[in-house]
């Protein structure tokens, strides 16, 4: 019988520091591997275990993909000790991605908080690389301070094609590639005029969801026009172990991306 926990061993092609606390690992992609915004892989390091990590690279790049990892536990800690040329196990990709295709018919509003920019980055690259196919796109990105900003070297390229706004909760006055606003991400709604009738993609911590969804509802967004990615503890990634259960959904298999229409009646979803 096919073993769904079997991992594939892939080589680390490149390791770069990203922001003050994360690293981008470029991994060799197995045959047929596709990157979709919001999907994740289980990274397996024998002896340490597995951890679900979002894919964050440009989907048009073939044969390799990127994950951006902050050292936060045993597996990510061990990963940070690894060197270029060494191998890690992967299985996946898993999960339901952001419905990026909607952006071909509707304007998009991408709202990211902190590390939440990682799962949205494949969508941003997809739009930037195929700009003429998509309608108008805005990004609202909130981070704690300049040191937490991710993917800074991409901003010049992104802001030429997308209306991109950053806000910092507690700025330290460090120079950044583009001007940043001050305050939490919902403050951007006061200063930036939204495009007409957009679909929103959200990725960030639960507290951000509470405030952003409240704001979006005030602006008369339909529940079915708000998509958000949930974070949960995962062990199997296959909809069995129940660690990631939310209501009757499994975040690993039915999500991690859900519409607000699916989640709004579930206690504890955000």
């Amino acid at each position: 019988m096919k073993n769904p926990y079997q991992t594939e061993s892939v080589k680390i092609l490149k390791i770069e520091d990203e922001g003050s606390r994360s690293r981008i690992f470029t991994l060799a992609a197995p045959r047929g591997f596709k990157v979709k915004s919001g999907q994740f892989v289980e990274i397996s390091l024998p002896g340490f275990g597995e951890a679900p990590i979002s894919l964050c690279s440009d989907p048009s790049i073939k044969n390799k993909f990127e994950i951006c990892v902050r050292k936060a536990g045993m597996v990510t800690g061990a990963l940070h000790e690894m060197k270029k040329g060494e191998k890690v196990g992967i299985r996946g990709p898993y999960g339901r991605p952001f419905p990026v295709e909607i952006g071909k018919k509707r304007n998009l509003l991408l709202i990211a908080g902190g590390l939440g920019l990682e799962p949205l980055r494949p969508a941003i690259w997809e739009i930037v690389k195929n700009r003429s196919q998509y309608k108008k796109v805005q990004i609202f990105y909130g981070a704690c301070d300049e040191n937490d900003l991710l993917f800074m070297k991409n901003y010049d390229e992104w802001k030429k094609k997308i209306d991109f706004h950053i806000t910092l909760d507690k700025p330290k006055g460090i120079k950044t590639p583009m001007a940043c606003n001050t305050g939490v991400v919902t403050k951007l709604f006061d200063s930036v005029k939204l495009y007409d009738n957009p679909v929103a993609f959200l990725c960030g911590p639960p507290v951000m969801y509470k405030f952003v969804i409240k704001k979006l509802k005030e602006l008369a967004f339909l529940d079915s026009d708000i998509f958000l990615s949930l974070e949960r503890r995962m062990h199997c990634g296959l909809g069995v172990c129940n660690h990631c259960a939310v209501g009757s959904f499994f975040v690993c298999e039915d999500g991690p991306v859900f519409s607000w229409a699916e989640l709004k009646d579930i206690k504890g979803a955000i």
Partner: protein, 321 residues
């Protein structure tokens, strides 16, 4: 089949190399033990304290061994007979078979397991909270290899699989009837008890049950999850050798009451309070599993109430939903 023939049949299976586990009345409780003397095997109405669960979903199992980045295949399971499962617990077998249908370790165990069911069901509500009866047509919705219907001092023998037929034929017993499994759901449609609790729990969140009552009484010991024949949540973790770079990846029973069940990197927990955790346990059994596979995630054996140190009784909780 007479009781003497049944004992001979068990002895035959043991000689054929099967490990046979059967319930035995011990001074305090009925427990599963490995049979050493087939002449001592009896059918007991009192269900064993621990169900069959650990024979199919063990508390700890090795998923694979690793040496550097090489991983071992699924190992062949030992041949085992689980004897004497009553129809209430057989419902849990049906449920686990669906939950683990794509799981190679579970399926390997099932492939090497002979399940022998029997018709003695306790009548008291403590051990049969949904008052399941041994009635016509019940067998076609249960999964087993052989089933013994108690008729006075003798048994009528049914088979539910080719493997069951084969071992009976090899033993030399032909007077059995085969029952084709018709799936878990009865012809009349969804189980009305399942629908009632599912809808009640999904529609209403009653603070007085979860926060005021159970949330203040439950001590999060997790005994109910260990004893429940349908609790199957698991953790996956690695256990490295101290030297040599090898080790094993293991799957162990998990419990949604424990502190780290919902904890993510950075320390945030999505199930923070006792009330959230016990609600999650009930929601899994009475809403999530029904939504997933249209059968109840509780068979009504009452074991959780029996072992609960603070007297939480599932029967009484359901009545308040």
């Amino acid at each position: 089949m007479t009781h003497g023939e049944l004992q001979k049949f068990i002895g035959f299976l043991m000689k054929q190399g099967w490990k046979v586990f059967a319930p035995e009345k011990q001074p305090d409780e009925v427990r599963y033990v490995e049979v050493e003397d087939a002449a001592k095997v009896k059918l007991i109405t009192e269900p064993p304290l621990h169900s069959f669960k650990r024979f199919l979903v063990p508390p700890e199992e090795t998923l694979f061994e690793y040496k550097k980045d090489k991983m071992a295949e699924v190992k062949e399971a030992e041949r085992q007979v689980i004897f004497g499962i009553n129809p209430v617990d057989l419902k849990a077998v049906v449920m686990l078979n669906q939950i683990f249908e794509r799981d190679p370790w579970y399926q390997e165990k099932m492939r090497r397991t002979l399940i022998i069911g029997q018709s003695l069901i306790p009548e008291n509500v403590e051990q049969n909270i949904f008052q399941t009866e041994y009635e016509e047509n019940i067998l076609e919705h249960l999964q087993f290899d052989i089933f013994l219907e108690v008729q006075g001092k003798n048994y009528f023998v049914y088979t539910g699989s080719e493997e069951g037929q084969k071992v009976l034929e090899d033993f030399g017993y032909k007077n059995y009837e085969h029952i084709a499994y018709a799936g878990p759901i009865k012809e009349e449609g969804l189980d009305p008890i399942m629908v009632k609790y599912r809808d009640a729990l999904r529609k209403n969140y009653k603070k007085e049950i979860w926060e005021k009552d159970l949330g203040t009484r439950c001590i999060e010991c997790g005994k109910c999850t260990l004893i429940c024949p349908t609790c199957f949540c698991f953790d996956i973790k690695d256990q490295p050798d101290l030297v040599g770079g090898g080790g094993v990846r293991k799957r162990t029973w998990g419990a949604c009451f424990y502190n780290d069940f919902s904890e993510v990197a950075g320390g945030h927990k999505f199930l923070r309070t006792t009330a959230e955790r016990i609600h999650f346990w009930y929601y899994h059994k009475f809403v999530r599993i029904p939504d997933q596979i249209q059968i109840m995630g509780c068979v009504g054996c009452g074991r959780c109430a029996k072992v609960c140190p603070v007297g939480i009784n599932i029967f009484k909780v359901l009545a308040k939903l």
